[in-house]
Amino acid sequence: MAITDDVLVIGGGLAGATAALAAAETTEDARIRLVTYKQSTLRHASGLIDVLGYAPGTTDDQQQPIADPYTALESLPESHPYQRVGIDAVRDALAFFDEIAGDAYAGAHTDRNALVPTHGGTVKPTARYPVSTAEGLASDDRDTLLVGFETLPDFDAPLAAAHLEAAGAPFDARGVTLSFPGIGRDDAKVTRYAHLLDHDERVETPSVTGETGAREALAATVNPHLDEESRVGFPAILGDAHPAAVREALSDALGAAVFEVPMGPPSLPGLRLEDLLYDALESAGVRVTSGVPVVDYETVAADSTGENSTADETTTAAIDHVIVDRNGAQIPHEADQYVLATGGLVGKGVESNRERVTEGIFDCYVPHATDRYDWFVDDVFGEQPYARFGVVPDEELRPLGTDDNPEFSNLRAAGAVLGDYDYAAEKSGAGVSLATGYVAGTRAGEACQ
């Protein structure tokens, strides 16, 4: 017996979760299943929802960030995923996200991008940002104290402050490096910092006599260094389960607004976004199967229905079921419609060896130069061909084969598994995942009604 559903989404990142949620919204009583092998790349990313920060193809020279991404979408090349789904779909997807995110995200009040300080010390354009970063926007001219910690070497607050000034930010920034109360080892994980604050664990700190709560202790550590600044920025470690309460406690104790600076992997804002999406999946009744890979598939036998007896050469095959591998056991999962949202090179939806670049499950066509020395350019931040590897979709987001026909009639692709855009240079990763996930999920849901 196969495990049977109406829509099967493969991949549990932003695109996959959005597709499953969109499919669930489209159809009242359809069974939606999301299968995800390993944990998603959400926790690698900053948790910001970038739509479009820079126009593609102009990386050679320094360029200004885009203030209004929607006007810039018009001028994108035809093959860009945004052009495939259309600009209205981008807006719809963002609205869909806003609904899911509720008050966890800000930025929906305007079409304009926000400039958020990064842990590298500069600013980046983004369309939606976690509320934890909202008080730190760079266009806000309030003076800022940045706080770093001796045991977190990837964020140097004084350097970041100097960097912000070099970037022309319209406020005075100052940085201090402090010791985090309650952290005993130099290699404590960021989840440990977050947990201390989440649970307000009792800690000893030189600033306060005896034991005190971790939040109070942290504020007491920062307080002597606060000098009239009306906001304080911390690396993004202010809680995992209860970030709002942590920020509020710090803000009250410091008498200043508190914000987070997004960090590299592992990213707490990314983890919180993942939790938010998975809570939404549970509420929407999406069945989630995690920890097992989809390894193979079978197409509907051409003669199974008799309808194709004319043996039309151009008939596009349909996927009958996929095979999920569970420690060597092969478990068939069948559905009416499938969404491929397995990610790109980082998420492992796109794979490569010395000769080829491939899509790992359905072997969909991934355009790439035959010579691997044409996969890169010499400038590390140049226009990198490898950053654009992925499947080519039609307007329905169905991956196309070498003959420009869909590989399968009931398979759509979404997110970073799509090619022909460089999300890192454009700052468009989350936006493309949302827009294509939303469209792929909606179409899949509609198709099985």
Partner: protein, 556 residues
Amino acid sequence: MAHDTAVLVLGGGSTGCGIARDLAMRGVDVTLVERGTLTDGTTGRMHGLLHSGGRYAVSDQASATECIEENEVLREIASHCVEETGGLFVQRPEDSDEYFREKLEGCRDCDIPATVLSGREAREVEPYLADDVSRAIQVPDGAVDPFRLCVANALDAERHGARVETHAEVIDLLRDGDDIYGVEVRHDSGPGKRTHKAPGTTEEITAEYVVNATGAWAGQIGAMADLDVAVRPSKGVMTIMNVRQVDTVINRCRPKGDADIIVPHETTAILGTTDEEVSDPDDYPEEQWEVDMMIDTLTELVPILEEARTIRSFWGVRPLYEPPGTGTQDSTDITRDFFLLDHDERDGVSGMSSIVGGKFTTYRAMAEEISDHVCAKLGVSAACATADEPLPGSEDVRVLEEGMDDFGLRSPIARRSNQRLGSRAADVLETNEPNPVVCECEGVTRAEIQDAIDQSGSDLNAVRIRTRASMGNCQGGFCCQNMANELHPRYDEETVREALDELFQERWKGERHALWGEQLSQAMLNYALHATTMNRDNDPARESTQLDYAQFDGGA
């Protein structure tokens, strides 16, 4: 006339640093200038083999004998740079029995300890060797870290009063008639440590005697004084694996050939190499077929390499030389011997000698011979002490033995730190400050990074070669930024930013040759982290035009 220095050494590779140390220890006033960072030329681009001499035991027994002698010396004076891995010459079914016998006899002729192992015994030593490896000869090959060894020589030279000037490119030789009396250097504008001069300025340095130890670049230096030094640079590729598949040096037991050696090097294994003459040591093709050949050919010896991850490839240029008129066509046949060209004797131009050819393992013996020659010129009678005096970091070998201190670090990190720092470990790692790991792949802590910055300033590539930070499997993606952070507040934000960009680009240069499979995923993750999360590719701080912040969302 008064000279700035008695002896001016050109080139900060193993030979130059070795000469500088040797002369400084004899009390000679030495200045060394290097175009880039130390080891930038050939020294930093080698496979890291400390020869037992086995490789030359058939073709060049004089070299082989010299190798085994120096091998033993370096184990003593540079124990913190040397790993006594042992080596194997392995034979596959298609390799000749005759050559195997010659190799064994050659080793014994040169007093290189050699034992024959059966295929099974060889696989007990190295479990990943191919099942059909039939026999092996075990020899005392070792692995050496050329960066650390070179830096230790430079450090000791400085301790004995030498001036070591990096990022100082020789742009002209100062020649007065038939006498060379110094050089003009241009101080590079990179983020190096320049305690003497401002970037972009030039300086004349005069000397009683100049030693041209620029190896593959010796011809270019000679040409500045119209001297013909016919170096025949020959390139070779080295492919670096992410982990050590072997802990012993593996040589293919057959006459010279490409892709016949695997050297376990620190946390990695290095596959080598090729041998192809190039016209310009700074500009030659680095090609895909070379990398593929390393993997495909050496997979015959160690099958796991076929699927293993490589993190980068790099090319080095051998400074081959043969006396004019020898007429060897194939660079693989050119002798690996070194030549001291006294331009006074050879060209009638006094004040300078050039040193060409040679190999890393015998750098110290070469330096001794040249230093003797220079001292004879200068009338200095002090004897060489470099074979007996340990280098800084190797003064006390006990640190690498049982009971080494862990300085509050986790075991493997403490072990690696101790291996890198040797007897300097306590000086560097004993700190009351927090000492987090800055580079996780290689286990490098803040204290060690700071120590390297003390030595080399804001040049992060110089920090890299001293510590191995950013040389692990993420190729700097996760730690370049952290390393740069360590420069602040000693250096200002702009210097830090430039240093970071320079290191990140340098890491990319080698990583390009490993862009498939896991390393391509790594590269994309690195790119996403630096471009997406940090926006380093469009940093407004580098913009000429001021960003109009008011146009953007200022909050609800």
